[in-house]
């Protein structure tokens, strides 16, 4: 046996692997990393659905004839957030032991809509292409906490048109200076859903959830393209952390433990504090990208300079809280360390 040859080829395999696989926990933006993350999550989703389908066929005699086609599609290419939404509702129905609901949701696994191609798109609720049922499902998944209801609704045609133009303009601005960052945002949130809260609600900029992986919910009423870019970079940072941890928590702290948030007035669990702090570092990074651009108007430059100063101060506040109280999971510690290396405490 040629051990030297084995070692050489093993070394080459590793080199190839390292050269091929992007650094998943890097703080700096990478669209290739975003796509690799999406692949990992889709592999996990396909495996989870396969496990569920086996259990359903065995225990409920539920025939699932077309599910292999869906599983193959999930493994092969990006899928709409609707697939993750269906998976989430199916798991919840199983947790409830609700046989009727399980059967109805399992039947949906054969819906050809789930196999549709997934170009980047900007849409809204309660109209095509989502329609009423899927919109309601999205809202149900987002709004699972009755203590902090969002009650989001779709926007008008004009708001959809203007919001989409605002998003394209914001990403275009970022793209002139850092195309990798702009492409990463588009890769992480390939379905941007424009939404608004009811009149009189607390301020709302956007929201994301792991349970609708690939979707990003954005308020189109941002007052400037810089503000719109902040909203997009904010939600993309949440998605990035979800992708890094594959849907597991960043910390081991109990949800009952609450701490001051650098972004919200209400006390939040440590996972939320870590997320908010990471988001603020990303917003600071985004502002620094823009300040290197020649495409900002003088008013925009002032806006970005102010935003960078505020975000960096809030990041330091969050970082202090995290350092004092966070008990990280292994992946959480590794991911957050990269953020602190990029933006250490002064």
């Amino acid at each position: 046996m040629n051990h030297a040859g084995d070692k050489l080829s093993e070394g080459r395999r590793w080199s190839a692997k390292i050269a091929f696989e992007p650094d998943l926990l890097a703080f700096e933006p990478s669209s290739r990393r975003a796509l690799a993350m999406d692949q990992r999550i889709r592999d996990g989703l396909a495996q989870s659905l396969a496990t569920i389908c086996t259990a359903l066929e065995d225990s409920m005699d539920l025939p699932l004839p077309n599910v292999d086609r869906l599983l193959g599609r999930i493994r092969a290419a990006r899928v709409r957030p609707a697939v993750f939404a269906l998976y989430t509702k199916l798991v919840q129905a199983i947790e409830l032991d609700d046989a009727g609901k399980i059967a109805r949701l399992a039947a949906e696994l054969s819906d050809p809509m789930l196999l549709e191609p997934t170009d980047h798109r900007i849409i809204t609720l309660a109209s095509k292409p989502l329609g009423n049922d899927l919109s309601a499902r999205y809202c149900d998944i987002l709004d699972d906490d009755s203590a902090v209801p969002l009650h989001l609704h779709g926007v008008t045609k004009q708001q959809l048109h203007d919001g989409a133009a605002g998003i394209q303009s914001a990403l275009g601005l970022l793209g002139t200076r850092d195309s990798e960052f702009a492409d990463e945002i588009k890769a992480l949130g390939h379905e941007i859903v424009l939404v608004m809260p009811p009149l009189g609600s607390p301020p709302f900029g956007g929201v994301t959830t792991f349970y609708l992986w690939g979707a990003m919910f954005i308020n189109p009423m941002a007052p400037s393209r810089v503000a719109m870019l902040e909203a997009l970079a904010h939600e993309a940072a949440h998605l990035l952390l979800f992708g890094m941890t594959m849907g597991s928590a960043m910390v081991e702290n109990s949800d009952a433990e609450r701490y001051a948030s650098p972004l919200r007035t209400d006390l939040r669990p440590m996972d939320g504090i870590v997320h908010a702090t990471y988001v603020l570092a990303r917003l600071t990074y985004c502002a620094e990208c823009l300040l290197r651009s020649n495409d900002l108007t003088p008013a925009e430059r002032d806006e970005v300079t102010h935003a960078r100063r505020v975000n960096l101060r809030l990041y330091h506040d969050g970082l202090q809280t995290v350092r004092e109280h966070a008990r990280f999971t292994e992946v959480g510690r590794m991911a957050f360390r990269r953020c602190v290396e990029a933006y250490p405490l002064p």
């Binding site: 999550i41 495996q47 989870s48 496990t51 569920i52 259990a55 065995d58 225990s59 989430t88 798991v91 919840q92 129905a93 199983i94 947790e95 409830l96 032991d97 609700d98 046989a99 987002l142 709004d143 699972d144 906490d145 009755s146 203590a147 969002l150 607390p202 301020p203 709302f204 900029g205 956007g206 929201v207 994301t208 959830t209 792991f210 349970y211 308020n219 941002a222 007052p223 503000a227 902040e230 909203a231 904010h234 939600e235 949440h238 979800f242 594959m246 849907g247 597991s248 928590a249 949800d255 972004l263 919200r264 669990p269 939320g272 997320h275 917003l283 935003a307 505020v310 975000n311 809030l314």
Partner: protein, 58 residues
Amino acid sequence: MTTKSQSPRQRLAGANLIGFDTSLWKNLPKRNVKGGAKAGQRSKVLAAKAGGKPAWRK
């Protein structure tokens, strides 16, 4: 060991389902109460939503 009489939840308790901690299902009552904020959501690993406040209103 799994048996035909087990419900999907019993069968999947402890299974590796992305985003969910199904080990909690081992100790749930036979059928959860429907309705309410937590119905069907005990096993979620993450809070449902992240984000919220617009940056321009800081």
